[in-house]
Amino acid sequence: MSVFLIIAWILAALIIPPAIYAVETKDLLSAAIAVGFADLVAAIVFLLLQAPDVAITQAAIGAGITLAIFVYAIQRTERWEK
């Protein structure tokens, strides 16, 4: 098992807490930011697993544009989950 694979496993474990937080929290803005963080870590994991094509897409779409779309949608509706 190479060093990169061990780092990839650690980072993959790092995705789980923000994912659970994003589901559980009532604050939708925090949830969107947590999902963005998870996406960013996933991009690094893809890079370490030697899939740079996917990593570029994940970083640009997952961590960038999806987060912006979520924030604009929250701005149009409501921030707190009822």
Partner: protein
Amino acid sequence: MRKAIAIIISVAVFVILAYFFVTSSAPINYTTGGDYVNPINDHQANQSVPQQYLNDSRKDTGSQNVVTAIVVEYRGFDTLGEVTVLFTAATGLAILLGEYKRRIEKAVEPNFVTQVATVIILPFIVIVGAYIFIHGHLTPGGGFPGGAIIASGFLLLLLVETNRGLPEKKLSITESLAGMSYALIGLLGLVLANEFLENYLPTGIFGTVFSAGIIPLIYIAIGFKVGSELGGILHNIKGVHEE
């Protein structure tokens, strides 16, 4: 109660997935052919599909990036479907939100640092995006990531221009032209090479920008299309300031 059931189900799903991952991550010997036997070519039945792509993509497509060779050449029709899905999503969003202009009570003045930094950094973002989709057949990346990076430049522009949106009409014209040129390149393949999306241009010198036949042309079209489409989505979902 519901929470406990949810936790139990998620743990069970995780365990099952982890089991499959661990059992399937045993080293696969590709040289003897994995489980993937290509049923179409019987004379190559012992050769696995991934190995065949790695061996033949240079000869077939002239593309240095094998992922691009698969996405645009071998599975070109899939990519056309993907572009169509994105187009449908953007059109649906435009229909739903285009009419309804959001009224902003008080326009927020953008940060001075953001304003200045955007002017400096925006050209570089667009150039990086264009570089990624022009060099899609040489380096990792391609039309989708390049277009997404250009769209993130549009996002920066939207953050600064709080009162105005993006030039929506120009974006939709760019998008339509790019989509049409993709389909036309494919149809030309039907005329010139008897197959839809088949390569009919010379593959050129391996590893240079002007190589791999129609792959760079298709990726340039996809890059323009995805960039303008995602820009339009961002524009529509943000809304326009109305007094």
